[in-house]
Symmetry: D2
Subunit: 337 residues, 4 copies
């Protein structure tokens, strides 16, 4: 039996972790921490858990996680780095769903996140938790930086062609459309139903904090400088994330050859499905799958890659559980659908 | 040329008034007042007005409306009653879209609105602005209390059978489903997209402030005590309001006879359409129509009435403009679709 | 290991059965039958099953289910009664999700379903599969008639007050709002996105085939004639069903007393949650729960009951699995969330 | 008074033409033709027109439009070219909303539309009806080919930078997201609500018939060969179209300079708004506006252009009315919002 805690458990990622973990018999959630809801029962904040989760939100306390095997932090970026060092000091392993430990340097972090990094000493040892890229390191890690939702879809879409140097590493165009739950659980006018419904809008062009995450991981994969343009859009659905990528082919290749390349690259991956048909959000919601299709266009010399996930599952809580399974030697699909 | 002002112009009803009135050549909007957005251009708050509305939100000032013919107040209930007396004193006529002047007594108001009425002296002279009920009085009124969205649909649905004493005035069951814009423009978690989308929920059962409004108007119409149960629901669409009413027949009558009764009652009404087919929201959005169907069920002795509007148009701004047209002797359909 | 087959597996209820059953280790789906998709792989019709379901749709064949323990029929009403007798003859037990075996007499069936009943001899032995009402009989049944979605919500909402004779059994008003998946998987203009989105409409008032189902079950429960008016509405969401019921109190009772009555009645039920707060669709989607709240209004002498389910789970496939669990002596919650 | 007819009036574009034109006093719709609905009243097919449109759908008849000044064809591509020559022969001017007369050659047409062009002699004289590009020719035209929805947004987004040779004309990446009404009024499974809602999917990558339309117009504008990749996506809203374009800068330029360039280029255009803020669908629905923003990224050497319209208005019926206004010397904004 794994003993687990969730810090920052009252947001959507925290709730999704609860949804997934409470269906298992081999994990016990000892504690849920959420400063904004201290003293409230989980099923008062999320009535869907009535009859299933018998816990109350607790305040943060450094000794809180002393006897836990694994602690998930679903705190916002900037908050997570304040508690993660303490949790590690008390002996638990940590999967951090925030952006705080995903970038290689504090300087890069501070440029995009707009605040000082208070735990830069951990950046070197944190493992970027994309199993398809770093399974072995994740297995050994004490601190896993769970990837962002956009980077998960974009990196999985680009891995095979960058690893095999099939595309130019510069001028990659990544256009994403995200469901609104990706923006978190918050009371803001711009996320209110009447503003979002029947609407589409781009946001944070050129400034999104996921840009350096994609760029640094992809640079590592390709051992080359990678330059990309990333434009995320909010579209009116709750869950789901669709990423459409354009890149220039460096070597002549057909769609069939790319299909084979991707199929081989992901052959043993339990949660990546390479498709001949155009993927869609509907096929992955409430699952941990990433569905990918890739097409070459000889005439324009471009490749088009489509990569689709549920932002709350493979893009957050599901991938965190996949990482936990790997870290503790459990079957990787355990508890995931 | 009518000179108009809108107080409380930054909410959805205020913006809808702007949308409707700025398409007219015979009305000039001199001033838009909105405390929360003072100094901002209208098209900064609502970019849809770029190139069409060249105004800035101004602070409230009692002399502000001195030279206006008509002032619309789209302030929240409780706020409107503070400024309406001053506007009247300065000579303008007023259409108030809040609930502040719709009820016959301050006591009833205070029971449902939970605060003191500060202008009870105006309750006697305010005219309830449902043209289908009180066209002549509206034409003469200095203060029109524009009806609530739920009451508009429910009262228009019930008028003919209550006026003709065809149903029992007690035990009327009114179930409504409203689009989310009806809840106003506000930054609250419970109106956020991720909470509202793919969701349905009832709210304010037995306590909604539109209950006394319906009850007092219907009692006046029928010259009898009216008792009703009202359950409103929020459903995931932006605009539209669907009201389904059950009542017990007091006299035997067929669906055909009811269709004729309703057709006659509303024959000269420009914005009520009596239908044989089941009405739907889609047919009335962005219009000032109320679509109504009525069916008698001899076996159960019940009548079912369906009444559908756009909550922002016939349920708010459109009806306000219809009232303005009546008050100033303009063609009633002018500027309305 | 239970051996199962699904007939009519290409519709939404069939796909939901697959989604639920393929997550279990103790049930093997031997066969999926769907005339319209014969020869296609399940994951070609539903790409979400790629990597999880390795089956092809087969044509119907009377010997097809010879070695199955349990056969689910998710065929449309009218089709199911043609194959169910043959399946029973070959020895399998059947859970029928259609309306074909829910009504007590062929005459009543033919009046509402508008075609002849071809297997009336089975109506007597079919057990209405609402576990909260007939658990013991379900356990023994060879043919279970799985309840309709609207009746599931309405009957669970009304059971306690009718069993205890707290409300008048006549004049019950049932207003329901359903997600669109309840209308099935079909290529019709009126279910197309552009017609349904941002729309609300009532349908089949007084003629819906679920009316006699509710009426006959509720009459049995209360040992009285029950008369009700039922108005279903389509609202723009995919999953979820909200039922709001009004009835007249026969005995004076408070909301608190009703809460206790319902809590006791459903105390041992694994999938009914009695709530003090107003329930919402969001809390039950993708689960087998029915959330219920009940309020008494002394002034109007009425009770308001709210009952909410996921139409595809507790309203169809989930309840079918719950019935299967009961029929085969498995833990009732097994495989259900 | 202009005398007008609409052929193919029962689809969404036809209905939108009716919605716009019936609000005018200077246009009379003499006739609506729709083979699939012959004999039905317009308000039986579209109940929203009850009380406003007193017409019946008629069958096609070559003499039908003899006395019309202007005939709109909203027939599907492939159908329109069969009737347009006859209409022209009878003396009316034509605005064709299909794709039949938008491409320069029959060969190109046949490659993308997959059927033979039966009126190639008209391709030379048909004027591509984008007012911002060809106002003078439209004024004189007897046959206007009304642009497609995607090309309208993409071409307006690219015009200034291509005319001024600021970007490379090759490798342009156009990613679009469209509301579902763009797919037309049709009874197909893939457009049904349960399939589209909470879903996103790309379609027709590299094969969409709007590709040669964009390419040929943009080549003409830039007097260079243009190569582009176009990926359209369906997202769950009814109206609205969002186009996000990436291109490589050929000359160094800042966002501010681009803003000025676009502002000057479109200064006198009544329906193009150049924005500093990121545009959104919500600001243009039910209007004829195209909202555009453009940003330069020196580091990556790329420009990002956002261009947003209502696919049924500026992307179809509204632009057709704008063209009509130009053709008949009426104020260009007349009847358009």
């Amino acid at each position: 039996m794994l003993e687990a805690a969730i810090i920052g458990a009252s947001g959507y990622s925290g709730a999704e972790l609860l949804r997934i973990l409470t269906q298992r018999n081999d994990v016990r959630i000892r504690k849920v921490v959420a400063s904004s809801s201290v003293g409230q029962r989980v099923d008062a904040v999320y009535p869907s858990f009535a009859g299933r989760v018998d816990l109350e939100y607790e305040p943060w306390d450094p000794t809180a996680c002393a006897n836990c095997d694994i602690v998930f932090s679903a705190l916002p970026s900037g908050e997570s780095m304040k508690i993660v060092p303490q949790v590690l000091d008390h002996g638990a392993r940590v999967i951090d769903l925030s952006g705080d430990f995903r970038l290689p340097t504090a300087a890069l972090y501070e440029r995009f996140y707009k605040h000082t990094h208070t735990a830069p000493h951990l950046l070197g040892s944190a493992v970027y938790g994309l199993p398809e890229l770093s399974r072995a390191q994740i297995a050994e890690a004490r601190l896993v930086a769970n990837p962002g939702c956009y980077p998960t879809s974009a990196i999985l879409g680009l891995l095979p062609v960058l690893e095999d140097k099939i595309i130019e590493p510069s001028g990659i165009v990544i256009t994403s459309m995200s469901g609104i739950s990706g923006a978190g659980r918050s009371a803001t006018l711009e996320l209110s139903f009447s503003e979002v419904n029947e609407n589409i809008r781009a946001y944070k062009i050129g400034t999104h904090q996921h840009i350096p995450e994609m760029q640094s991981v992809l640079a590592r994969v390709s051992a080359m400088e990678v330059s990309l343009s990333f434009v995320p859009h909010l579209v009116p659905l709750t869950r789901g994330l669709y990423t459409t990528i354009h890149a220039r082919l460096d070597v002549p290749v057909t769609s069939d050859e790319l299909f084979k390349l991707y199929s081989q690259r992901y052959h043993h991956e339990p949660f990546v499905r390479v498709k001949r048909q155009i993927p869609q959000v509907k096929d992955v919601v409430y699952t941990n799958y990433c569905d990918i299709a890739v097409y070459a266009y000889a005439s324009s010399g471009q490749v088009v890659i489509l990569s689709v996930i549920d932002n709350l599952v493979k893009g957050a809580a599901g991938q965190a559980v996949q990482n936990m399974n790997i870290m503790f030697g459990l079957p990787e699909r355990e508890g995931l659908y």
